[in-house]
Symmetry: D2
Subunit: 477 residues, 4 copies
Amino acid sequence: MALTAGRLAHVENREAWRPRFADCRARSEALAQHLLPEDQVVQSMPDVSPTKWHLAHVTWFWETFLLLPRLAGYRVFDPAYNHLFNSYYEAVGPRHPRPTRGLLSRPGVAEIARYRAHVTAAMERLIATADAATFRAIAPLIELGLAHEEQHQELILMDIKHVFAQNPLAPAYRTAPLRPARAAPALEWRDFAGGLVEIGHDGAGFAFDNEGPRHKVWLERFRLATRLVTNGEYLAFIADGGYRRLEFWLSDGWAAVQAQGWEAPLYWRRAPEKADGNERWSEFTLAGLVPLDPFAPVVHVSHYEADAFARWAGRRLPTEAEWETAAADLPVAGNFLDGGILHPSAPIADRLTPTLTLSDRDAPHPYPPPRGGRVREGVTADASDRANRDLSASLVPLLQIYGDCWEWTQSAYAPYPGFRAVEGAIGEYNGKFMSGQMVLKGGCAVTPAGHLRASYRNFFPPAARWCFGGIRLAEDG
Amino acid sequence: MALTAGRLAHVENREAWRPRFADCRARSEALAQHLLPEDQVVQSMPDVSPTKWHLAHVTWFWETFLLLPRLAGYRVFDPAYNHLFNSYYEAVGPRHPRPTRGLLSRPGVAEIARYRAHVTAAMERLIATADAATFRAIAPLIELGLAHEEQHQELILMDIKHVFAQNPLAPAYRTAPLRPARAAPALEWRDFAGGLVEIGHDGAGFAFDNEGPRHKVWLERFRLATRLVTNGEYLAFIADGGYRRLEFWLSDGWAAVQAQGWEAPLYWRRAPEKADGNERWSEFTLAGLVPLDPFAPVVHVSHYEADAFARWAGRRLPTEAEWETAAADLPVAGNFLDGGILHPSAPIADRLTPTLTLSDRDAPHPYPPPRGGRVREGVTADASDRANRDLSASLVPLLQIYGDCWEWTQSAYAPYPGFRAVEGAIGEYNGKFMSGQMVLKGGCAVTPAGHLRASYRNFFPPAARWCFGGIRLAEDG
Amino acid sequence: MALTAGRLAHVENREAWRPRFADCRARSEALAQHLLPEDQVVQSMPDVSPTKWHLAHVTWFWETFLLLPRLAGYRVFDPAYNHLFNSYYEAVGPRHPRPTRGLLSRPGVAEIARYRAHVTAAMERLIATADAATFRAIAPLIELGLAHEEQHQELILMDIKHVFAQNPLAPAYRTAPLRPARAAPALEWRDFAGGLVEIGHDGAGFAFDNEGPRHKVWLERFRLATRLVTNGEYLAFIADGGYRRLEFWLSDGWAAVQAQGWEAPLYWRRAPEKADGNERWSEFTLAGLVPLDPFAPVVHVSHYEADAFARWAGRRLPTEAEWETAAADLPVAGNFLDGGILHPSAPIADRLTPTLTLSDRDAPHPYPPPRGGRVREGVTADASDRANRDLSASLVPLLQIYGDCWEWTQSAYAPYPGFRAVEGAIGEYNGKFMSGQMVLKGGCAVTPAGHLRASYRNFFPPAARWCFGGIRLAEDG
Amino acid sequence: MALTAGRLAHVENREAWRPRFADCRARSEALAQHLLPEDQVVQSMPDVSPTKWHLAHVTWFWETFLLLPRLAGYRVFDPAYNHLFNSYYEAVGPRHPRPTRGLLSRPGVAEIARYRAHVTAAMERLIATADAATFRAIAPLIELGLAHEEQHQELILMDIKHVFAQNPLAPAYRTAPLRPARAAPALEWRDFAGGLVEIGHDGAGFAFDNEGPRHKVWLERFRLATRLVTNGEYLAFIADGGYRRLEFWLSDGWAAVQAQGWEAPLYWRRAPEKADGNERWSEFTLAGLVPLDPFAPVVHVSHYEADAFARWAGRRLPTEAEWETAAADLPVAGNFLDGGILHPSAPIADRLTPTLTLSDRDAPHPYPPPRGGRVREGVTADASDRANRDLSASLVPLLQIYGDCWEWTQSAYAPYPGFRAVEGAIGEYNGKFMSGQMVLKGGCAVTPAGHLRASYRNFFPPAARWCFGGIRLAEDG
């Protein structure tokens, strides 16, 4: 997630900002409070940053964009930090600093805590003492700074999970166990009529600039699965040779499978075979290594895996516009960071999915052919059925749209028509990631509640697996 | 360009097929007739294939999909060729054969000529002797085979150009000199009203399957430049620090610039400095090394470079749908392979672009700000002017839409709504390249005439430079 | 330095072992006492190990080879540590654990301190309580374990220096400043008569097995420089284009210069140019970044650089046998770890080297041609002079033979005639590094005093620079 | 093999030179006469050069070092060839031309034949017309040029074998079949007394400069195997887990086994399993793919494999000095290029080795323990037997010392004491390969007869397998 600056709402009631600011800063620190200093240094791959780097970088943002230009007499904590904690720094030449963040043991954790306290206190002074004109000017930047720090709260958890996963001791981030598995809802399909719709942020409230402008898109009829794909369903894909059968994969995806030896989602571990096939696997979570829950959503798959799974299931991934249209009227609620679970889980539902017995090779394919189209098995639906279908009869509820897993779409991350990056340093790089990445929607179990919107566009390269990516299926209507 | 099978027209008049088939086969052989056997072995990078491999691979297609299943008593020329010349072969394991095509000296050029003659004769027998039912069944495959061989005719020239470019002796593929430079037309802008349009192939005549289904797209108002960007204009970008200024580049593009040391288009060579800046550069062409023509279209730039140039010019690249809408009513004519020039050139025009004197640093920026929007320099156009503009007054002609250069769009190569790959081996990989690549439109100076359509979708990864990619600018309307 | 087991002396007086063991364990811990936990996790390159890994690995040695087989009732501290801290572990397959030691934040520093205390106490119990026969059997293993832990004491300092050097803040390991620079002794040459000599360990006292068997070697007459090459002399090599002139370099060395962009020794930093050339450089040391001392020995050069320097100076590096012959009668004393300087420095001497003024390009070449041979400049000495030379007149003292810098030899690390590796796990890998590495002699400023012998053979690949490698010149006699 | 210039014999009888020169030039051309032009372009890995490059490069040598400086009025054939065919050219910067030799299709084979004829004629003119003083000056250079062209004759065959081996069609270089297998001689051991010996070239006749100076070396008693290791014996090593058992391998060798997936010598191909274990393998030779001959010497193993095999057999490789001492009095005769076999083969002998039945797992280990030392199995010989052994009784003949396979030694390639490179361009790089390579002795089945001497030092990196490296075992005496 790159930092992007949006069309910011003016919020002039400074009393409202004080607790929001204080809560946000405190939440960042709370996320690290059970970690050792040793944990906070490690960078387990170039895309991961150490915990202490995140804690310092978000602090550098406040210092650089708010305190230095706006708080008279502000004393910079340490001038060297501008180089160390500026993620915008672009090395011209052969050495890129990003992959080397894990080589820096200093400043240590205690020193960074002092840096945070210094900047937090100064920000509280600025909020309390800025005159009205200044406050109007900085309020949008405070909102942006909070959204930025929230993004890094999610990254702290994504990244420390990857760090701990490298360790044969499988350390747990949270000490409480995960809640017991419960059956997943039955898989159903919700119809949408399509037509000329509008997507993108409408300007009410905060948004990053990549969410706009709001614009028209033509959609054909489509259907979305009412819940996320489960681990049990994904196991059926694996058991059916999913990772060995070229025909399901995009060309670049197949190359990634071969080059990286993928055989399962990122954090799955194959245990010695048992009689009951469901228990062959365990999954590394922020609560440590646990038996794989067949009803929980599959998570930590790449776009390539999500796409291959969908092809195996005779479906496809939704487009960004389909997803946003479906989500437009739903409340932004779900399994987010604040719930404390820190892992996707099956929602409560009336109709449940039957227990999968994967060692039973005669079990029915979990995905029967779609009503309206050709599927892998060659079944063709009755066209008249399709024409006469009553969309209103299909209003089964959509579950897990927000929270649990970021949902991979089939849409490449690209500028919306009329998109303009914000001027200046904050917006300098807004559009520069709009190449080679795919859009994900809806947030996940480590996203701070309140951070999401229907128009929110997350993006990662199609091979990325350490973000909490999951799968919702779609099909033509 | 991957082989893709389309909705094929039934053409039952077999007499029409004989000369088309014979001409196509003869053209492939003519393309290699001035090459040495030594030239036809070399693979200068993994994406390039040796000439003799192309000549054999298209022959393998006829043998595998037409002769073996349809011609009674057909004798396979050499069973080993199925492995050597099957581009569909996917190595499971660490060794991919594609980058090693250049290691195979055998079968030699003479042997492959015998293979071609054997297959051509058998195909002529099949066309002459098939009963009516068989002929109806194979006519679409013949059409597909011809389109396939035409694609490889273009690849033969793309690839041998790259091979010769590695050689310090700079060998020429064609011995006739390029035609003298002539001034480029003045750069103008053509307005389009947008709205709910349809794109994609409508089913009349042959098309590859990725061109359909035809479908609705909503477009905002937009403008297209009336001609391609010239070498002279691209030189201004270089002179203005284009390759050294991070702010113009997509993040992945900047990484490519650094990693590969790009400083100019692929085949430009910097000669020792002269007083007249325009003559510092030469360009390697299929006619050998020639002085850079400032009026000819810039070619052999990557998508990253095209995008960075557009950003520098205060514009953007067109979308696939914008381009296709603009091209819909134009005749498919231009500087194609059959004209024999084999290099993009300035079209004949009334109003000419002024001579650029790049050594004159006070020369005006070649791209004045657009009428309707913000540009790099911060100029804002008069909104009322925009609202009242008379589109009909803007019907300046679009030049170079077909031929000269493949035009990079800003659209990622993705399936159209409702896209289905053809069943079976021919369609096995139709969709598998729909990830990580960008769409190009319009054909180029080495594309066989008759091969193109408005709906034709070419695609290459954004870093590819050896395809004949050029730049047409667009802007919001 | 690989662990190697030697022909061990029987030392049956167990009272002598107690303080040696306790002192050795305490010294390891003292080396880490001023480091933060954050410092002790970082692995700055694959060859470097984190401090806490070293502290745990040497402890694992005692547990595995002494306590488990010999101390009745010993309780393993944590069974998982055998995998984490066993440097002998060889992954069969694509993942080598060594480069990933820096990814393991757990067990943390405090936990490893508990591990050390547990093992130290058990070892003290074993030493105190073993019966006489057992003690005779384990005394050689204790001696080996002490030598092993001493090796890792040196590695802790080598490695943390490399870690800190990556940090733009340039943290200092030791807080006291280095001692002021003093003039280096004048460079003189000591003659040796050669003949049939013996080298290798003679069996008295402890040695690693690679130091034997003692064996005969024929040596021609040779000369050794009386002191190490200084930074000032190495600056003259750089100023003379040393890193840009192919003719001085071994082929693989030149490839390393190009591939890694070497322009100076590993820890030199070029400061902005000043009027006085000597002050352009600073050097990162364990006391932080200090101005380069022109009289101190050059250190942290690879074998390739040492060899290139020698060729530039018209000399060569000594062979292993020459060095050992020269050192045979000298006391093992010098600038070692226990002196606390932790950096090479100029020895006290009567005749001093003149101050180099490197900005003066007319200064004399610091290395006049050798008496007895051809040099770069083509000077040939008088042969009669050579024949009649009185060796006894040449008995100028050899300085810095021990301590300061490990001295690169021109000898590849190879087995001595009749060499046999020790049987079993301890000796399993004794000979396996005898390929592709070069021998270094004499110890350095971070080698524990008492660890060295004339027969001691250190070895590193010729491109290694983070070991404290320096240069002593030799020439034919 | 790098070009090295030696102390050249003066040979003033110019009539003797004419046929030597003509024969040498003709032999180079004969080696390529059955190749297609396509074959002569391919470079199958960076270490391999195309046939036509070799033919041009040796020609460039004559033009550059003889014709240009010595033949009045000589006209350079093409000035561009100095860049293309100068192996001494060292790119300063990121692009090394060597791996790109295979990208140059021009000049073609016919053009290079014209280049050769032009230079051959001029050289014949020079030899015929030079005045006496000139001829004395150039005779050593002619001798060097002939030795140089002979080296490249061997390289042409080494390299084209590697090229053909990449091709699934397995083309044969020579059309005649290999001679039928015959039983190998029994393995016996020849004793040598060691002592103070002399090795190196003594100055009589031509030698490369790396062969001198002649110098003293002390050798302990040793034994050499009387013949090379056979394929059958190497199969026993493989069957015993040789490539999977870490304990036999040097550390760098084990890394190469893992990284490159070695399971057998370079050109062995595993056929589908049969009842008789000996027939599971075939071997690619210059006569094409043939069943593996268990009695022929194993060839195309790296130094790492040779060393691992020796350790498995309880022996070691000989040192360079041991080999040269043993070979000193033997005639230089054997299976060389001129015999036309082009592959190692078993020599004729009285006592034959018994047939190995590798599918019989109870077969005796082919290498019983050595008389005088510890072996893998822990057997110790009677020391008194060793002391009293009568060396004269052990004068069994040494077979295959010359020809068949280059014999890997355990000696790193290093300068002899007192070595000086020749001055000037010819000697520029003489010593620069004396790092990271191992010495091989004795020539092989594609070395021109007359090219070898006892003092000849070939050298390759320890991982190289495409040179014809084989194994002779040694043990301590």
